[in-house]
């Protein structure tokens, strides 16, 4: 049981998707509730498995010692293995993926258009995401990384907003562009390391001894660049972020949640899983640039978010900003003070988890108001199709009309701007503490981001919920039960981790210590 739990986590959704086909034949495609229930039950079991895994998971054990590790030969000729394992870095991501997948199925309950396609693709996407976080063989990792693209293309392209086709292909092309460079880096790692292997654990030892150069650059440097392009596009790191606002805005609510909550984390996860342990020397050389990019992300994302009048776009840019904290925290791995390095790295992974839950709340809440009002403008644009509304506030004073909804929005917004006692604060603070110990000036600039975040969140809150009620919305209904079920778990996590982050921190810390040790040894 213990060694098969990881396999179940990945392939259960595939089985669920396959199960939908006989149901569609038996009961017809119109009976969408069958597909919804199958998807809900599958992701429910997956989440339960993830919780069981979390209960049994011992962060002190390394991947090679862990009872969950699976290692089976797949293609012997290339030494490719079906190699899955879980450690302190992947555990929070697995929990996040399972939780958000379950919640997103609930959040998609109203989908009626081609429900069979939607839910089966969603489950395939779920399998791909889970696979990325569990794979410890680079080839397998790459396969799962790419497998996600196709369902995502369809989910944005078929069920998205008005510009969905453009957004879908842009997302696909951008990510593919990044991942083909990753493919080359992967092959270079394979052939330059001795013995040739895709095993990410073995490569930790062998990759650092690569000593060759191509075109006058060291191979390790080029591998780092290749991997970095692949991961940076996913994070997304400025200037590779332009696919993000479009994809997030056009995607249906649940898919935006997955995009921001899980997919963005894959970029930083990849950096921590592959680039950091395998190429510590390059990490040391590159960390200053990483910190600079992180700070640019923080400021650029926040400034852009301030300029947005579309709520969803604002939240999308806030993701760019929040991922900047992760980068800053990660760059601190080279800090001379070990406490600083630990704070930075642990903060980075915690921020990945916390941002996943907070941004999921934000997108879900935006989706709820969009479902009711059929728009999500904070202020209608000047060239709006109805000229009498152009330039007018989109909402106003709905706080008293929908009090429960407003309460959750307040919680999510405050968590987003990093209010103490909410989870976002702890991880952001840790990222800054780490960053400060390594890059003083940069971090001081970066802290401006907190202020900028507060500007757009508070301003949006004020414009939408406070003041006199906009008469158009006097019939606005409050949050319903299904919506409540999607928001409450996330809100609880945000609150609990805000005052008691120990469960998350204890899970992450040993794994991060290992990575810090590798990086520090290359200083």
């Amino acid at each position: 049981m213990e060694s098969s739990i990881l396999t179940f986590l990945i392939f259960l959704p595939v089985a669920g998707a396959a199960l939908m086909l006989p149901f569609s034949k038996l009961y017809g495609k119109e009976n969408t509730h069958y597909f919804k229930w199958i998807a809900l039950i599958t992701t429910g079991i997956q989440f339960a498995l993830a919780l069981i895994l979390y209960r049994k998971f011992d962060p002190a054990l390394s991947v090679t010692e862990s009872p969950f590790t699976v290692q089976i030969d797949w293609i012997k000729h290339f030494n490719i293995q079906y190699f899955l394992g879980v450690d302190g870095l992947s555990m929070p991501m697995v929990l996040l993926t399972a939780l958000l997948s379950f919640i997103c199925i609930l959040a998609s309950w109203k989908i009626e258009k081609q429900a069979l396609g939607y839910f089966s693709l969603f489950l395939l996407l779920d399998a791909g995401m889970m696979g990325v976080f569990l794979a410890l063989d680079f080839f397998l990792f790459y396969v799962f990384w790419e497998v996600m693209l196709l369902p995502m293309y369809f989910l944005i392209g078929i069920w998205g907003g008005p510009q969905r086709m453009y957004a879908a292909i842009k997302f696909f092309l951008y990510t593919l562009f990044g991942s083909v460079f990753m493919l080359l880096a992967m092959l270079a790692l394979y052939y330059y390391s001795d013995p040739h292997t895709f095993n990410l654990i073995t490569l930790i030892q062998t990759a650092s001894s690569i000593d060759a150069s191509i075109w006058g650059f060291s191979v390790k440097y080029l591998i780092w660049i290749g991997l970095f392009i692949g991961f940076a596009i996913k994070v997304p790191i400025f200037p590779f972020h332009t696919w993000l606002p479009l994809a997030h805005v056009e995607a249906p609510t649940a898919i935006s949640v997955i995009l921001a909550g899980v997919l963005l984390k894959m970029g930083t996860y990849g950096l921590l899983r592959i680039s950091y342990p395998l190429l510590p020397g390059e990490v040391v050389n590159f960390s200053y640039i990483l910190a600079v990019l992180g700070v640019i992300n923080i400021i650029w994302g926040a400034v852009n978010a301030i300029a947005q009048i579309d709520m969803k776009k604002m939240v999308a840019y806030s993701s760019v900003s929040h991922m900047g904290y992760v980068l800053l925290g990660m760059a601190a791995a080279i800090s001379e003070s070990s406490a600083g390095a630990q704070a930075g790295m642990n903060g980075a992974v915690m921020q990945m988890f916390n941002h996943g839950t907070i941004t999921a709340m934000l997108f879900l809440l935006v989706g709820m108001v969009y479902d009711r009002a059929h728009h999500r403008w904070i202020i209608f644009p000047r060239d709006y199709e109805k000229p009498e509304l152009a330039g007018q506030p989109g909402f106003g004073g709905i706080g008293a009309q929908v009090p429960i909804y407003t309460g959750f929005v307040a919680l999510a917004f405050f968590a987003g701007l990093g209010l103490p006692a909410l989870s976002g604060f702890i991880s952001e603070a840790m990222c800054f503490i780490g960053g400060f110990s390594a890059f003083r000036t940069l971090t001081i600039i970066g802290t401006l981001g907190i202020l900028l975040n507060a500007i757009y969140f508070l301003r949006a809150y004020q414009r939408i919920f406070l003041g006199p009620l906009n008469e158009t919305y006097k019939d606005l209904t409050d949050i319903n039960k299904i919506e409540l079920a999607t928001i409450v778990p996330l809100a609880i996590i945000t609150l609990v981790l805000g005052v008691y982050p120990a469960p998350l921190l204890n899970m992450i810390a040993p794994a991060m210590d290992g990575i810090i040790q590798i990086v520090q040894s290359a200083l």
Binding site: F78, Y153, I169, L173, L176, V180, L184, A188, Y190
Partner: protein, 488 residues
């Protein structure tokens, strides 16, 4: 081996010859003419069975004219599979005139015979004859839609380009004979060793490259490809995009490896070592794949798009060719084998689209995702495979080719050109997917079933793309056995 004794190993070819004659003769007997289709198919199955029985035998037949070895067997299986499937599907292509079905099948069988000989020839004269045996019926097949102007144009263009290329190649072959005094390619290897004036060898090599480059539509000898592919009946286009290309690659490998290398590596004593041939092929490969891809982006006609895409795939195969050595040959063969499945299934889908919706342009494909969700899903799989994304076999093919470059630590610039090309190719392949699924169509969403033969052809060929991704080791083992010829 003596001529008479050679016949023992020549049975597959003899079966095909008999069935060609039988098909032609039976066609004139009205009561029996409808059996020609079955005769053609069963002869292919029979030939395949005999071939399987002979698999692994290495020998030289007809006093050194052709050789049988696992290498040629591998390619012969590709030809048999392609021809079988094409004959089967052609029967249900609505644009083809059924009156000429027997001629059409006989012609395809003649091409098949030529392809068999192409993969086996070890003599310059035999090489030339086999290429012509493939080409001449192909010209006719391309013009099979007699009343269709585009088909006529395709046939004419094909004849002109084809005869010009084979003329040049014949010229090259005669110079080669003049230099070495032999037509046997093994003998040439010996004769060329230590040749004092290497300059004289370049001209015939370049002329040979023109001939083969034309056959596999390598840039700059590709100009015929889009027009012929667009005009020819779709099953013939599918056939041309796989079988003669495979044969061209086979003969290219055989000639270059037998004539100019020793034990799979470039021998320093041979004139080939003087010039950096790998670099020339690498540049050719980069230009081929880039041009094919960039031009494919602008295409609106699906067949024409697939024609350009097939050019770019040749570029990918040549990429491994730039690395001399048995391992690179393995990568090419793997790529080719996988390419067969993804390309044929994509072409069969265009037959479905043209049969049922009269759809030839990308935008005409809109709504197919709803009208036939199963086939559209498999088409997406094939397109994904053509792009080279996991989890499909196309990724495995590309992976091996890239791996060759990295293994030999050469041509990294080519690897970068190639990966950027796969990103470009995503754009046009997915314009079809977009049309099938994403574009809203006003039509009623009633399922439009394909003819079972076409349906299952698409499904079976397309499904291989998943199968060979999940477990490609046996396939690779087969290929490895097939090139033991060069001590791989």
């Amino acid at each position: 081996m003596s001529n008479l004794y050679s016949l023992n190993y020549y049975i597959p070819e003899l079966i095909i010859i008999c069935s060609i004659l039988l098909v032609i003769v039976l066609d004139v007997i009205p009561s029996l003419s409808r059996y020609t289709f079955y005769i053609a198919l069963s002869s292919i199955v029979l030939a395949g069975g005999v071939l399987w029985n002979n698999y692994g035998v290495t020998d030289s037949l007809f006093m050194g004219m052709i050789s049988i070895d696992p290498f040629s067997h591998f390619f012969k299986f590709i030809f048999l599979l392609t021809t079988f499937s094409i004959i089967l599907v052609s029967r249900y292509e609505k644009l083809l005139d059924r009156t000429y079905a027997a001629e059409y099948n006989a012609m395809l069988l003649i091409v098949l015979l030529g392809l068999f000989l192409m993969a086996s020839s070890t003599n310059l004269i035999m090489i030339y004859l086999s290429i012509e045996l493939v080409s001449i019926p192909s010209y006719i097949l391309a013009g099979m839609l007699k009343t269709d102007k585009e088909s006529n144009e395709a046939s004419l263009k094909y004849v002109i380009f084809g005869s010009f290329a084979s003329g040049l190649m014949l010229f090259g072959l005669s110079i080669l004979y003049g230099i070495t005094g032999t037509t046997d390619i093994m003998g040439m290897n010996t004769a060329l060793t230590g040749l004092e004036y290497p300059l004289t060898i370049y001209l015939p090599i370049i002329l040979l490259l023109v001939g083969f480059g034309y056959k596999i539509s390598m840039v700059p000898f590709h100009f015929w490809t889009p027009d012929v592919y667009e005009g020819a009946p779709t099953p013939i286009t599918a056939f041309l995009s796989v079988a003669p290309k495979a044969a061209g690659i086979a003969i290219l490998i055989r000639i270059f490896y037998t004539m100019f290398t020793q034990d799979g590596s470039v021998s320093q004593t041979l004139p080939l070592a003087e010039i950096n041939w790998p670099a020339i092929i690498a540049v050719g490969s980069a230009i081929t794949m880039t041009l094919g891809n960039v031009l494919a982006v602008q295409q609106q006609d699906v067949k024409r798009m697939l024609a350009y895409s097939s050019i770019s795939h040749v570029g990918f195969m040549l990429m491994a060719f730039a690395i001399l050595g048995p391992e690179a040959v393995r990568a090419v063969m793997l790529y080719l084998f996988i390419y067969l499945f993804m390309n044929l299934s994509a072409f069969y889908m265009t037959i479905y689209a043209s049969n049922n919706f009269n759809a030839h342009h990308v935008e005409d494909w809109k709504g197919i995702g709803k009208k036939n969700p199963v086939l559209a899903a498999f088409m997406t799989l094939s397109l994904l495979s053509l792009t080279g994304l996991p989890p499909t076999a196309g990724f495995v093919g590309k992976f091996y080719v890239f791996a060759e470059l990295f293994k030999h630590q050469q041509f990294y610039w080519l690897a970068i050109v190639a990966i950027l090309n796969s990103v470009i190719s995503l754009y046009y392949y997915f314009s079809i997917v977009k049309s099938m699924y994403l574009v809203e169509s006003e039509d009623v969403d009633e399922v439009v079933e394909a003819h079972p033969v076409i349906k299952w052809s698409i499904i079976i060929f397309s499904a291989q793309n998943i199968l060979f991704f999940l477990y490609w080791e046996p396939l690779f083992g087969l290929i490895e056995k097939s090139i033991s010829l060069w001590g791989g």
